[in-house]
């Protein structure tokens, strides 16, 4: 008979201690690279804001009743969320899997792939929730008026960030090599990024493009942030939250499947 009398307590799925373990690793690692990460997450949206704000802003003063700076300042929140979630998720996951072999070490501990993916996504979402607010704060320097609704923005950014983080992990899970990311960036992320309504309204687009935007989670993030800052639209916005939740849950499950196939053979 094999040793069985000293069984550990029953261990289940999505345990807090496993999630905490993976999160602690991320937080401790973050302490060694937070400067560069904060720098890029702050400077990038600021450049977008300045370039579009001054460039376009000199041609267009208002869009849909909003000052152009206010329009872009709220729109680029979604850009910041995308940049601080999908990209770190894609590249970070691939590097940790392929080059640093971190996931081999973590999965040898009492952590399952489901917990690993979930904890990584939670961490990236939290960062996106914070970094996502940066463009709005910068826009405030350029004249965006404060409003109570702004307090909702970190939560919207978190929710969208979770979905994009899972999206990035999923892509890394399916990718055979890091070069595969080029296809996804060109064919998926860039179109979604432009079809989000961050820099210009989508009203003038042809119907098919407008319809396509309705299945773009980034578009819902843009609209939700704008509405949170300038006035919510009840049921429509609730539906947008629903869309982000569905997007997040969907890619979360697929990301787990993709990573399980990659990590456990």
């Amino acid at each position: 008979m094999a040793a069985s009398e000293t069984r550990a307590p029953k261990i289940g799925r999505l345990e807090r201690s496993a999630l905490t373990g993976v999160l602690v690793r991320e937080v401790v690692n973050y302490s060694s690279y937070w400067r560069s990460s904060t720098f890029s997450s702050t400077v990038e949206p600021t450049i977008y804001l300045l370039a579009f704000g001054f460039g376009f802003g000199s041609l267009v003063s208002t869009i849909g009743g909003l000052d152009y700076v206010d329009f872009v300042g709220t729109g680029t929140v979604a850009t910041a969320v995308l940049f601080s979630s999908a990209f770190p998720a894609m590249f970070g996951t691939f590097v940790k899997y392929q080059f640093q072999r971190t996931y081999d070490a973590i999965l040898a501990a009492p952590v399952d792939t489901e917990e690993l993916v979930t904890a990584e996504a939670l961490w990236i979402a939290t960062r996106a929730g914070v970094y996502g607010c940066v463009p709005m704060l910068v826009a405030m320097v350029f004249g965006l008026d404060p409003s109570w609704g702004m307090l909702l923005v970190p939560f919207i950014a978190w929710l969208a960030g979770f979905g994009w983080a899972c999206f990035g992990i999923m892509i890394a899970g399916f990718a055979k090599s890091i070069e595969n990311f080029n296809y996804v960036v060109s064919a998926v992320i860039t179109p979604l990024f432009l079809l989000a309504g961050s820099f210009f309204p989508l009203d003038e687009f042809p119907d098919w493009a407008f319809a396509l935007a309705q299945i773009n989670p980034l578009h819902h993030c843009v609209q939700l942030v704008r509405h949170a800052v300038f006035g919510l639209e009840g049921w429509t916005d609730l539906a947008r939250v629903g869309a982000l939740v569905v997007f997040g849950l969907g890619v979360w499950r697929v990301a787990i499947i993709a990573m399980t196939r990659k990590l456990v053979d």
């Binding site: 261990i11 640093q100 971190t102 952590v111 053979d265």
Partner: protein, 299 residues
């Protein structure tokens, strides 16, 4: 009475496409012993290790670790195991202590015991005064010691060491042997894979020689030597033509031989009365068994 088993494999099979990495393996690791998997690269040692943490799922067979059935109960088993991978996967931009802290969390050490656990691991790895050094500033030997200490931070009942000293200088290797030996004397159960014969001979109570995913021989190192290579080996040096001659001669006398590059080793000469040939007599060792059982020139 069978001893309690920390690891029990029965007929484990793992295929990757057309390659069968582990081919019907039976393995017993009794509690409190050190078992060495010895085999050339590609023998299936690392795959066996991955099966034990359910990072590979067996296609056939039964696997039990600490009395828990894999893969279903693997997480419970992993909580009580420490694993040192063949390839270093430390977080290189973190300090020694931070690496241990992360694993103290991953292995669920309660808050109040974490600090003491990290101190103990630092002492075991002899890295107390390097605790604040970043891993990328450590020498290869220090990194490997940290990699082992990281696997011990939660006082596991079973430790899996996959090629613990691969790629290290002989001197550094001996430091690690001391560390593993200390662990062994504390009564921790160890399964270690290696392709260094001396390592297996020194550290393992039982050695399983693997080739092409199968166990070709299992036993205590000294027993394996006695059984397969006899007590004495005659080492004959000479030019290639002479060696070929000796080989043929020994073969016709019913003795087994193996080539060792510059010489011919004639095995089991202690039992061969009247066999006279000039050469150096030496005790048979595990390497003789290993080459005999896994090499191409098996007689």
């Amino acid at each position: 009475m069978e001893r309690e088993l920390a690891i029990r494999l029965r007929g484990a099979v793992k295929r990757y496409g057309p390659i069968t990495a582990v081919d019907g393996l039976d393995l017993d690791v009794p509690i409190g012993t050190c078992v060495g998997l010895l085999g050339p690269n590609g023998a299936g040692k690392s795959t066996t290790m991955r099966l034990l943490t359910a990072q590979s799922i067996a296609d056939e067979g039964e696997i039990e670790v600490l009395g828990l059935r894999l893969p279903g109960e693997s997480k419970m088993a992993r909580a009580q195991c420490g694993v040192t991978p063949q390839l270093d996967n430390l977080d290189t931009t973190l300090t020694v202590q931070q690496n241990l802290l992360v694993f103290a969390h991953l292995y669920r050490i309660p808050r109040g015991e974490r600090r003491a656990a990290i101190e103990r691991a630092l002492e075991m790895a002899k890295l107390v005064d390097r605790r604040d050094s970043r891993v990328d500033k450590l020498s290869g030997g220090m990194r490997r010691r940290l990699l082992i200490a990281r696997a011990l931070v939660h006082r596991p009942r079973l430790v899996l060491l996959d090629e613990p000293t691969v790629g290290l200088d002989p001197q550094v290797r001996q430091e690690l042997w001391a560390l593993i030996d200390a662990l062994r004397s504390e009564g921790t159960t160890i399964l270690m894979s290696t392709h260094y014969i001396e390592e297996a001979q020194r550290l393992a109570d039982t050695v399983m020689i693997m080739s092409h995913g199968k166990a070709v021989a299992t036993g205590a190192p000294s027993e394996l030597v006695r059984e397969h290579a006899g007590r004495q080996v005659l080492e004959v040096y000479g030019p290639p033509a002479r060696l070929a001659e000796v080989e043929a001669e020994a073969g016709s006398a019913g003795l087994r031989t193996r080539r060792t590059g510059t010489s011919i080793s004639i095995l089991g000469v202690d039992g061969a009365n009247g066999y006279e040939i000039d050469g150096e007599r030496r005790p048979a060792n595990l390497e003789d068994v290993f080459v005999l059982l896994t090499g191409e020139e098996i007689a």
